[in-house]
Point group: C2
DNA sequence: GTCTATAGTAAGATAGAC
DNA sequence: GTCTATCTTACTATAGAC
Protein backbone atom coordinates (compact mmCIF):
# COMPACT_ATOMS: atom_id res chain seq x y z
CA UNK A 1 0.00 0.00 0.00
CA UNK A 2 1.60 3.25 -1.16
CA UNK A 3 1.86 6.04 1.37
CA UNK A 4 1.67 9.75 0.95
CA UNK A 5 5.21 10.91 0.38
CA UNK A 6 6.94 11.76 3.63
CA UNK A 7 4.31 10.15 5.83
CA UNK A 8 5.94 7.83 8.34
CA UNK A 9 4.04 8.16 11.57
CA UNK A 10 4.57 4.55 12.51
CA UNK A 11 8.35 4.66 12.42
CA UNK A 12 9.26 8.29 13.01
CA UNK A 13 7.96 8.32 16.59
CA UNK A 14 10.31 5.60 17.84
CA UNK A 15 13.18 7.07 15.84
CA UNK A 16 12.65 10.45 17.48
CA UNK A 17 12.87 8.84 20.90
CA UNK A 18 15.95 6.81 19.97
CA UNK A 19 17.76 9.82 18.57
CA UNK A 20 16.80 12.01 21.52
CA UNK A 21 17.97 9.39 24.03
CA UNK A 22 21.34 8.97 22.33
CA UNK A 23 21.89 12.71 22.00
CA UNK A 24 20.76 13.49 25.55
CA UNK A 25 23.12 10.81 26.86
CA UNK A 26 26.05 12.13 24.88
CA UNK A 27 25.68 15.89 25.28
CA UNK A 28 23.06 16.45 27.97
CA UNK A 29 19.44 17.54 27.65
CA UNK A 30 20.07 21.28 27.84
CA UNK A 31 22.91 21.14 25.32
CA UNK A 32 20.88 19.33 22.67
CA UNK A 33 18.59 21.32 20.37
CA UNK A 34 15.41 20.16 18.71
CA UNK A 35 17.14 20.86 15.42
CA UNK A 36 19.92 18.40 16.31
CA UNK A 37 17.38 15.70 17.10
CA UNK A 38 15.55 16.42 13.84
CA UNK A 39 18.79 16.17 11.88
CA UNK A 40 19.55 12.77 13.42
CA UNK A 41 16.09 11.52 12.49
CA UNK A 42 16.19 13.04 9.02
CA UNK A 43 13.28 15.46 9.33
CA UNK A 44 12.89 19.17 9.92
CA UNK A 45 12.58 20.50 13.46
CA UNK A 46 8.91 21.38 13.13
CA UNK A 47 8.01 17.75 12.38
CA UNK A 48 9.16 16.66 15.85
CA UNK A 49 6.16 18.39 17.35
CA UNK A 50 3.93 15.71 15.84
CA UNK A 51 5.48 13.36 18.41
CA UNK A 52 5.92 15.47 21.51
CA UNK A 53 4.18 18.63 22.69
CA UNK A 54 7.56 20.02 23.75
CA UNK A 55 11.16 19.17 24.58
CA UNK A 56 10.47 18.74 28.30
CA UNK A 57 7.79 16.10 27.70
CA UNK A 58 10.12 14.24 25.36
CA UNK A 59 12.68 13.96 28.18
CA UNK A 60 10.08 12.96 30.74
CA UNK A 61 8.61 10.22 28.53
CA UNK A 62 12.06 8.76 27.92
CA UNK A 63 12.76 8.60 31.64
CA UNK A 64 9.32 7.30 32.56
CA UNK A 65 9.48 4.54 29.93
CA UNK A 66 12.92 3.50 31.18
CA UNK A 67 11.91 3.35 34.84
CA UNK A 68 8.73 1.43 34.06
CA UNK A 69 10.64 -1.03 31.88
CA UNK A 70 13.11 -1.53 34.71
CA UNK A 71 10.42 -2.24 37.30
CA UNK A 72 8.44 -4.52 34.98
CA UNK A 73 11.56 -6.45 33.97
CA UNK A 74 12.58 -7.05 37.58
CA UNK A 75 9.09 -8.04 38.63
CA UNK A 76 9.11 -10.63 35.84
CA UNK A 77 12.62 -11.86 36.70
CA UNK A 78 12.43 -11.85 40.51
CA UNK A 79 12.51 -15.37 41.97
CA UNK A 80 10.80 -16.55 45.10
CA UNK A 81 12.94 -18.31 47.69
CA UNK A 82 15.50 -17.43 50.31
CA UNK A 83 16.83 -13.90 50.67
CA UNK A 84 20.30 -14.93 49.54
CA UNK A 85 18.99 -16.29 46.23
CA UNK A 86 16.83 -13.24 45.72
CA UNK A 87 19.76 -10.93 46.41
CA UNK A 88 21.94 -12.77 43.92
CA UNK A 89 19.16 -12.55 41.30
CA UNK A 90 18.78 -8.82 41.95
CA UNK A 91 22.52 -8.22 41.67
CA UNK A 92 22.84 -10.04 38.37
CA UNK A 93 19.63 -8.58 36.99
CA UNK A 94 20.64 -5.02 37.82
CA UNK A 95 24.02 -5.35 36.14
CA UNK A 96 22.63 -7.05 33.04
CA UNK A 97 19.67 -4.71 32.59
CA UNK A 98 21.60 -1.51 33.20
CA UNK A 99 24.56 -2.34 31.01
CA UNK A 100 22.16 -3.22 28.19
CA UNK A 101 20.57 0.24 28.37
CA UNK A 102 23.43 2.50 29.28
CA UNK A 103 22.02 5.59 27.57
CA UNK A 104 18.66 5.37 29.31
CA UNK A 105 20.29 4.74 32.71
CA UNK A 106 22.60 7.69 32.23
CA UNK A 107 19.86 10.07 31.13
CA UNK A 108 17.48 8.93 33.88
CA UNK A 109 20.05 9.82 36.51
CA UNK A 110 21.79 12.85 35.02
CA UNK A 111 18.78 14.75 33.79
CA UNK A 112 16.67 14.66 36.93
CA UNK A 113 17.55 18.34 37.40
CA UNK A 114 16.02 19.24 34.08
CA UNK A 115 12.60 17.78 34.82
CA UNK A 116 9.70 20.06 35.61
CA UNK A 117 8.74 19.64 39.30
CA UNK A 118 5.72 17.40 38.71
CA UNK A 119 7.69 15.20 36.30
CA UNK A 120 10.55 14.99 38.80
CA UNK A 121 8.15 13.74 41.47
CA UNK A 122 6.82 11.01 39.20
CA UNK A 123 10.30 9.75 38.26
CA UNK A 124 11.49 9.89 41.86
CA UNK A 125 8.52 7.78 42.92
CA UNK A 126 9.44 5.10 40.36
CA UNK A 127 13.08 5.16 41.44
CA UNK A 128 12.05 4.82 45.06
CA UNK A 129 9.85 1.86 44.14
CA UNK A 130 12.81 0.09 42.60
CA UNK A 131 15.00 0.77 45.63
CA UNK A 132 12.26 -0.64 47.82
CA UNK A 133 12.38 -3.94 45.92
CA UNK A 134 15.97 -4.39 47.09
CA UNK A 135 15.28 -3.04 50.55
CA UNK A 136 12.59 -5.72 51.04
CA UNK A 137 15.06 -8.45 50.19
CA UNK A 138 17.59 -7.05 52.64
CA UNK A 139 14.99 -6.76 55.39
CA UNK A 140 13.81 -10.32 54.83
CA UNK A 141 17.38 -11.58 55.02
CA UNK A 142 18.10 -9.55 58.14
CA UNK A 143 14.94 -10.80 59.86
CA UNK A 144 15.83 -14.38 58.98
CA UNK A 145 19.32 -13.93 60.38
CA UNK A 146 20.95 -14.53 56.97
CA UNK A 147 22.24 -10.96 56.66
CA UNK A 148 23.83 -8.56 59.12
CA UNK A 149 22.52 -5.13 58.09
CA UNK A 150 22.08 -2.23 60.47
CA UNK A 151 20.16 0.00 58.03
CA UNK A 152 18.41 -1.84 55.19
CA UNK A 153 17.29 1.32 53.42
CA UNK A 154 20.79 2.78 53.37
CA UNK A 155 22.32 -0.55 52.46
CA UNK A 156 19.97 -0.80 49.48
CA UNK A 157 21.05 2.62 48.21
CA UNK A 158 24.70 1.76 48.81
CA UNK A 159 24.44 -1.48 46.84
CA UNK A 160 22.48 0.09 43.98
CA UNK A 161 25.08 2.84 43.70
CA UNK A 162 27.85 0.27 43.60
CA UNK A 163 26.11 -1.87 40.96
CA UNK A 164 25.08 1.05 38.76
CA UNK A 165 28.70 2.14 38.79
CA UNK A 166 29.47 -0.76 36.45
CA UNK A 167 28.11 1.42 33.65
CA UNK A 168 30.89 3.96 34.07
CA UNK A 169 33.62 1.52 33.00
CA UNK A 170 32.11 -1.61 31.45
CA UNK A 171 32.59 -2.11 27.71
CA UNK A 172 31.14 -5.13 25.94
CA UNK A 173 34.38 -5.57 24.00
CA UNK A 174 36.60 -5.22 27.06
CA UNK A 175 38.74 -7.75 28.89
CA UNK A 176 35.94 -9.01 31.12
CA UNK A 177 32.65 -10.38 29.87
CA UNK A 178 29.39 -9.67 31.64
CA UNK A 179 29.31 -13.02 33.44
CA UNK A 180 32.70 -12.29 35.02
CA UNK A 181 31.58 -8.83 36.06
CA UNK A 182 28.44 -10.26 37.63
CA UNK A 183 30.56 -12.76 39.54
CA UNK A 184 32.95 -10.10 40.86
CA UNK A 185 30.16 -7.82 42.04
CA UNK A 186 28.07 -10.65 43.48
CA UNK A 187 31.07 -11.71 45.55
CA UNK A 188 31.35 -8.19 47.00
CA UNK A 189 27.60 -7.81 47.53
CA UNK A 190 27.29 -11.19 49.22
CA UNK A 191 30.13 -10.50 51.62
CA UNK A 192 29.06 -6.92 52.37
CA UNK A 193 25.80 -8.11 53.93
CA UNK A 194 27.17 -11.32 55.44
CA UNK A 195 26.77 -12.13 59.11
CA UNK B 1 41.73 53.11 51.88
CA UNK B 2 38.90 54.12 49.58
CA UNK B 3 38.52 52.17 46.39
CA UNK B 4 37.33 53.24 43.01
CA UNK B 5 33.61 52.70 43.04
CA UNK B 6 32.69 49.22 41.81
CA UNK B 7 36.22 47.88 41.96
CA UNK B 8 36.31 44.59 43.85
CA UNK B 9 38.79 42.36 42.08
CA UNK B 10 39.91 40.67 45.28
CA UNK B 11 36.47 39.39 46.24
CA UNK B 12 34.54 39.18 42.99
CA UNK B 13 36.66 36.36 41.58
CA UNK B 14 35.88 33.88 44.37
CA UNK B 15 32.27 34.95 44.36
CA UNK B 16 31.99 34.22 40.65
CA UNK B 17 33.33 30.72 41.20
CA UNK B 18 31.03 30.12 44.18
CA UNK B 19 27.95 31.29 42.30
CA UNK B 20 28.86 29.32 39.19
CA UNK B 21 29.45 26.14 41.19
CA UNK B 22 26.10 26.41 42.98
CA UNK B 23 24.20 27.19 39.78
CA UNK B 24 25.93 24.49 37.74
CA UNK B 25 25.13 21.95 40.47
CA UNK B 26 21.49 22.98 40.61
CA UNK B 27 20.62 23.41 36.94
CA UNK B 28 23.52 22.00 34.95
CA UNK B 29 26.26 23.78 33.05
CA UNK B 30 24.44 24.06 29.73
CA UNK B 31 21.25 25.31 31.36
CA UNK B 32 22.96 28.15 33.25
CA UNK B 33 23.68 31.42 31.46
CA UNK B 34 26.46 33.87 32.16
CA UNK B 35 23.70 36.38 32.94
CA UNK B 36 22.38 34.12 35.71
CA UNK B 37 25.83 33.83 37.25
CA UNK B 38 26.30 37.59 37.00
CA UNK B 39 22.94 38.20 38.68
CA UNK B 40 23.89 35.90 41.57
CA UNK B 41 27.16 37.79 42.02
CA UNK B 42 25.57 41.21 41.64
CA UNK B 43 27.41 42.41 38.52
CA UNK B 44 26.61 42.65 34.84
CA UNK B 45 27.41 39.74 32.54
CA UNK B 46 30.29 41.52 30.83
CA UNK B 47 32.16 41.88 34.12
CA UNK B 48 32.50 38.10 34.45
CA UNK B 49 34.99 38.11 31.62
CA UNK B 50 37.50 39.79 33.91
CA UNK B 51 37.67 36.47 35.77
CA UNK B 52 37.39 33.86 33.07
CA UNK B 53 38.16 33.94 29.36
CA UNK B 54 34.95 32.02 28.68
CA UNK B 55 32.27 29.83 30.21
CA UNK B 56 34.06 26.59 29.33
CA UNK B 57 37.19 27.60 31.21
CA UNK B 58 35.12 28.57 34.21
CA UNK B 59 33.72 25.04 34.36
CA UNK B 60 37.11 23.44 33.84
CA UNK B 61 38.76 25.48 36.58
CA UNK B 62 36.03 24.54 39.05
CA UNK B 63 36.49 20.86 38.32
CA UNK B 64 40.27 20.99 38.31
CA UNK B 65 40.37 22.83 41.63
CA UNK B 66 38.02 20.28 43.16
CA UNK B 67 39.98 17.26 41.98
CA UNK B 68 43.28 18.74 43.10
CA UNK B 69 41.84 19.62 46.50
CA UNK B 70 40.60 16.06 46.81
CA UNK B 71 43.95 14.51 45.98
CA UNK B 72 45.88 16.90 48.21
CA UNK B 73 43.51 16.37 51.13
CA UNK B 74 43.80 12.59 50.90
CA UNK B 75 47.57 12.69 50.57
CA UNK B 76 47.68 14.76 53.76
CA UNK B 77 45.21 12.50 55.61
CA UNK B 78 46.43 9.09 54.43
CA UNK B 79 47.99 7.08 57.27
CA UNK B 80 50.77 4.57 56.98
CA UNK B 81 50.20 1.14 58.42
CA UNK B 82 48.32 -2.00 57.56
CA UNK B 83 45.98 -2.16 54.58
CA UNK B 84 42.93 -2.55 56.80
CA UNK B 85 43.69 0.68 58.64
CA UNK B 86 44.42 2.50 55.39
CA UNK B 87 41.17 1.24 53.89
CA UNK B 88 39.19 2.43 56.88
CA UNK B 89 40.85 5.83 56.67
CA UNK B 90 40.07 6.08 52.97
CA UNK B 91 36.43 5.12 53.51
CA UNK B 92 35.89 7.70 56.22
CA UNK B 93 37.87 10.37 54.40
CA UNK B 94 35.95 9.90 51.16
CA UNK B 95 32.56 10.20 52.87
CA UNK B 96 33.56 13.22 54.95
CA UNK B 97 35.26 15.09 52.13
CA UNK B 98 32.57 14.44 49.54
CA UNK B 99 29.61 15.25 51.75
CA UNK B 100 31.30 18.51 52.72
CA UNK B 101 31.55 19.56 49.05
CA UNK B 102 28.43 18.13 47.49
CA UNK B 103 28.13 20.76 44.76
CA UNK B 104 31.70 20.31 43.54
CA UNK B 105 31.41 16.51 43.59
CA UNK B 106 28.17 16.66 41.65
CA UNK B 107 29.49 19.07 39.03
CA UNK B 108 32.76 17.19 38.65
CA UNK B 109 30.89 14.03 37.77
CA UNK B 110 27.86 15.32 35.88
CA UNK B 111 29.53 17.87 33.67
CA UNK B 112 32.33 15.73 32.26
CA UNK B 113 30.38 15.66 28.99
CA UNK B 114 30.51 19.41 28.72
CA UNK B 115 34.28 19.66 28.93
CA UNK B 116 36.29 20.40 25.82
CA UNK B 117 38.32 17.28 24.87
CA UNK B 118 41.64 18.47 26.28
CA UNK B 119 39.99 19.59 29.51
CA UNK B 120 38.21 16.26 29.77
CA UNK B 121 41.50 14.41 29.49
CA UNK B 122 43.03 16.47 32.29
CA UNK B 123 40.12 15.86 34.67
CA UNK B 124 39.98 12.17 33.85
CA UNK B 125 43.67 11.86 34.66
CA UNK B 126 43.09 13.39 38.09
CA UNK B 127 40.12 11.11 38.71
CA UNK B 128 42.14 8.12 37.71
CA UNK B 129 44.90 9.17 40.09
CA UNK B 130 42.47 9.22 42.97
CA UNK B 131 41.08 5.79 42.08
CA UNK B 132 44.64 4.49 41.98
CA UNK B 133 45.16 5.58 45.59
CA UNK B 134 42.43 3.17 46.66
CA UNK B 135 43.53 0.49 44.22
CA UNK B 136 47.00 0.49 45.79
CA UNK B 137 45.53 -0.10 49.23
CA UNK B 138 43.45 -3.00 47.94
CA UNK B 139 46.43 -4.55 46.17
CA UNK B 140 48.58 -4.26 49.27
CA UNK B 141 45.89 -5.94 51.35
CA UNK B 142 45.37 -8.68 48.78
CA UNK B 143 49.11 -9.35 48.55
CA UNK B 144 49.34 -9.54 52.34
CA UNK B 145 46.43 -11.96 52.47
CA UNK B 146 44.26 -9.52 54.46
CA UNK B 147 41.76 -9.03 51.64
CA UNK B 148 40.16 -11.39 49.14
CA UNK B 149 39.85 -9.39 45.95
CA UNK B 150 39.86 -10.88 42.48
CA UNK B 151 40.14 -7.56 40.60
CA UNK B 152 41.59 -4.68 42.65
CA UNK B 153 40.98 -2.08 39.94
CA UNK B 154 37.32 -3.00 39.57
CA UNK B 155 36.87 -3.31 43.32
CA UNK B 156 38.25 0.20 43.75
CA UNK B 157 35.73 1.63 41.28
CA UNK B 158 32.93 -0.37 42.90
CA UNK B 159 33.77 0.94 46.35
CA UNK B 160 34.19 4.54 45.22
CA UNK B 161 30.80 4.38 43.46
CA UNK B 162 29.21 3.03 46.64
CA UNK B 163 30.81 5.66 48.86
CA UNK B 164 30.09 8.58 46.55
CA UNK B 165 26.46 7.48 46.53
CA UNK B 166 26.15 8.83 50.07
CA UNK B 167 25.84 12.27 48.51
CA UNK B 168 22.56 11.38 46.82
CA UNK B 169 20.69 10.91 50.08
CA UNK B 170 22.72 12.32 53.01
CA UNK B 171 21.43 15.49 54.66
CA UNK B 172 23.30 17.07 57.57
CA UNK B 173 20.01 17.64 59.41
CA UNK B 174 18.75 14.09 58.80
CA UNK B 175 18.23 11.21 61.19
CA UNK B 176 21.81 9.92 60.93
CA UNK B 177 24.89 11.98 61.65
CA UNK B 178 28.04 11.64 59.61
CA UNK B 179 29.78 9.40 62.16
CA UNK B 180 26.94 6.88 61.95
CA UNK B 181 26.99 6.96 58.17
CA UNK B 182 30.74 6.37 58.17
CA UNK B 183 30.27 3.40 60.50
CA UNK B 184 27.55 1.84 58.33
CA UNK B 185 29.58 2.16 55.14
CA UNK B 186 32.81 1.06 56.74
CA UNK B 187 31.07 -2.08 57.93
CA UNK B 188 29.99 -2.87 54.37
CA UNK B 189 33.35 -1.97 52.84
CA UNK B 190 35.29 -4.03 55.37
CA UNK B 191 33.17 -7.10 54.82
CA UNK B 192 33.07 -6.77 51.03
CA UNK B 193 36.83 -7.25 50.78
CA UNK B 194 37.15 -9.71 53.67
CA UNK B 195 38.78 -13.09 53.22
C1' DG C 1 36.83 46.69 37.33
C1' DT C 2 32.38 47.55 35.94
C1' DC C 3 29.10 49.54 33.09
C1' DT C 4 25.93 50.01 28.83
C1' DA C 5 25.19 48.63 24.36
C1' DT C 6 25.39 45.54 20.83
C1' DA C 7 27.13 42.21 17.27
C1' DG C 8 26.19 37.80 15.81
C1' DT C 9 24.08 33.53 16.45
C1' DA C 10 20.88 30.04 17.85
C1' DA C 11 17.26 28.48 20.53
C1' DG C 12 11.87 26.57 21.23
C1' DA C 13 7.81 26.66 19.20
C1' DT C 14 4.05 27.82 15.72
C1' DA C 15 1.53 28.86 11.08
C1' DG C 16 0.09 27.55 6.87
C1' DA C 17 1.09 25.21 2.37
C1' DC C 18 1.16 20.67 0.34
C1' DG D 1 2.99 14.00 8.40
C1' DT D 2 6.31 16.99 6.74
C1' DC D 3 7.96 21.13 4.84
C1' DT D 4 9.43 26.11 4.70
C1' DA D 5 9.32 30.27 6.89
C1' DT D 6 9.16 32.90 10.79
C1' DC D 7 8.11 34.92 15.50
C1' DT D 8 10.11 35.79 19.70
C1' DT D 9 13.45 35.26 22.87
C1' DA D 10 17.86 34.36 24.70
C1' DC D 11 22.56 33.29 24.44
C1' DT D 12 28.09 34.16 24.47
C1' DA D 13 31.26 37.36 23.90
C1' DT D 14 33.18 41.96 22.77
C1' DA D 15 33.78 47.23 22.40
C1' DG D 16 34.33 51.38 24.40
C1' DA D 17 32.97 54.82 28.09
C1' DC D 18 33.88 55.89 32.87
Amino acid sequence: MARTQGSHSDITGPRVREAALALFAQHGFAAVSMRQIARAVGVQAGALYNYTPDKQTLLYELMRAHMEDLLAAWDRAAPAGAALERLEAFTRFHIRFNTSRADAVFVSYMELRNLAPENFKAIERLRREYETRLESILRAGADAGSFAIAEPRIASMALIAMLTGVNTWFRADGRLDLASVEAIYWDMVRKSVAV
